[in-house]
Amino acid sequence: MLTKTLLSLGNSGINFITGAGRAGMLLLGALKPSGRGVKFFPLLVKQLYVVGVQSLVIIVIAGLFIGMVLSLQGYSLLVGFGAEQSLGQMVALSLLRELGPVVSALLFAGRAGSALTAEIGLMKATEQLSSLEMMAIDPMHQIIAPRFWAGLISLPLLSAIFSAFGILGGHLVGVDWLGVDTGAFWAIMQASVDWNQDIATGLLKSMVFAVVITWIALHKGYDAVPTSEGISKATTSTVVTASLAVLGLDFILTALMFS
């Protein structure tokens, strides 16, 4: 019994370390300058469209609604203290520091991350990755690197767009519906939002989230068991692991930045 437990523990340990090693090699492969120069650029542009542009609709709509809800909740709280003029400040800081990077990262993991895992898993199952290898073309350069860099570039931009539309949503509800003074809304926001403390930290967070989500998505796809069940498991695992990683990292980054 004890031997069996030890054996299973040992096996789990070996599997974990092997998996981590493979994930590390994949990250190195994606980061390494490929030397493909001009051939890399069209691949990157295509992936920027697939990963970034195609995620825009969900990001814009979610940003608008989150901003509107924030504004409604914030107004009902602030009006009790007669501080409803600070609504713009509250909406902007909540979005720029926390909700923008975190919610856009969660949405990105669900939309683009799962799609990346499924796509690469299917390419593996249909031997497309093997056929690239046999054509003397490194899948790391052709498939993994463009998707990795596209994720890295897209998410911070999507996060900025999310926050911008969130503020717009907050304005729609706070100013146009609830009657907060538009001058106060924008002026107090402008006075209280700091580039380093609020905007740069938010961007830094979304960059870290972008690396983690894209890395997890690509690794899960590349390492997927090449069957329909294996790809389905890998896709689910991407969303769950990436979402939890984003929330955990958000806490750590917030503690490091603001404590």
Binding site: K39, T126, E127, Q128, S130, S131, E133, M134, M135, A136, I137, D138
Partner: protein, 269 residues
Amino acid sequence: MNLSDNIIEISDLSFKREDRIIYNDINLKVPRGKVTAIMGPSGIGKTTLLRLIGGQLLPNSGKILFNDENIVTASRKSLFKMRRKMGMLFQSGALFTEMSVFDNVAFPIREHTKLPESIINKVVLMKLEAVGLRGAAQLFPAELSGGMARRAALARSIALDPELIMYDEPFAGQDPISMAVIVRLIRELNDALGLTSIVVSHDVEEVLSIADYVYIIANQTVIAQGTPQQLRQEKSEQVIQFMEGRPDGPVPFHFPHQDYKKEMCNNVD
């Protein structure tokens, strides 16, 4: 440099997956310019052998020489250099689904050469003409039948005029017409382009009709080899069972398990 008569030489190759031995000290030679067939029952690792030759898997021991260069110990750079002289037709075709047939065939040429598009256009059309799919150049893989997809993949694998082409189960799941087309193409391309072909299959009659030399693999090793005529004369029970498709023999019909009667009696209360 004088290359040996064999494009591939495998010596003392052993390979295992976890605890399961796939090959045990196997030796095999693929003569240059010929069609060599590798046959054997399902699940004995025929595709694995092609992956070992392509350097996609590493053996536990032994040597695999391609043009006298050892694939096993080659650096990634020299392995990629060797792969540029190899083509492989995968069982699924492995066409890139987001590209048209034309772009699939043009892909390796665009990646590995700096030829102008006008030349690439002509080369691709020549390759597609060779497999009878010039008219399907603008179709996408999803619009092709199984046989057409395999022919398109064949055009892609000969795009860079390789020295060696490996066919992984080229006849699997094909209707009789597609099968006859592929059989003819393998032989004609081999002779017209001066290639060397390795065909992995368990379709006995089709393989024997085009192969110059045949290896039969079972029990982790080569159990018979020779020209198709020599194999038809083979006396070994195991070879006869495979060649004639007998359901029972040295390769048992029943998966090994405890005695049937004993198990049935045990279940009676």
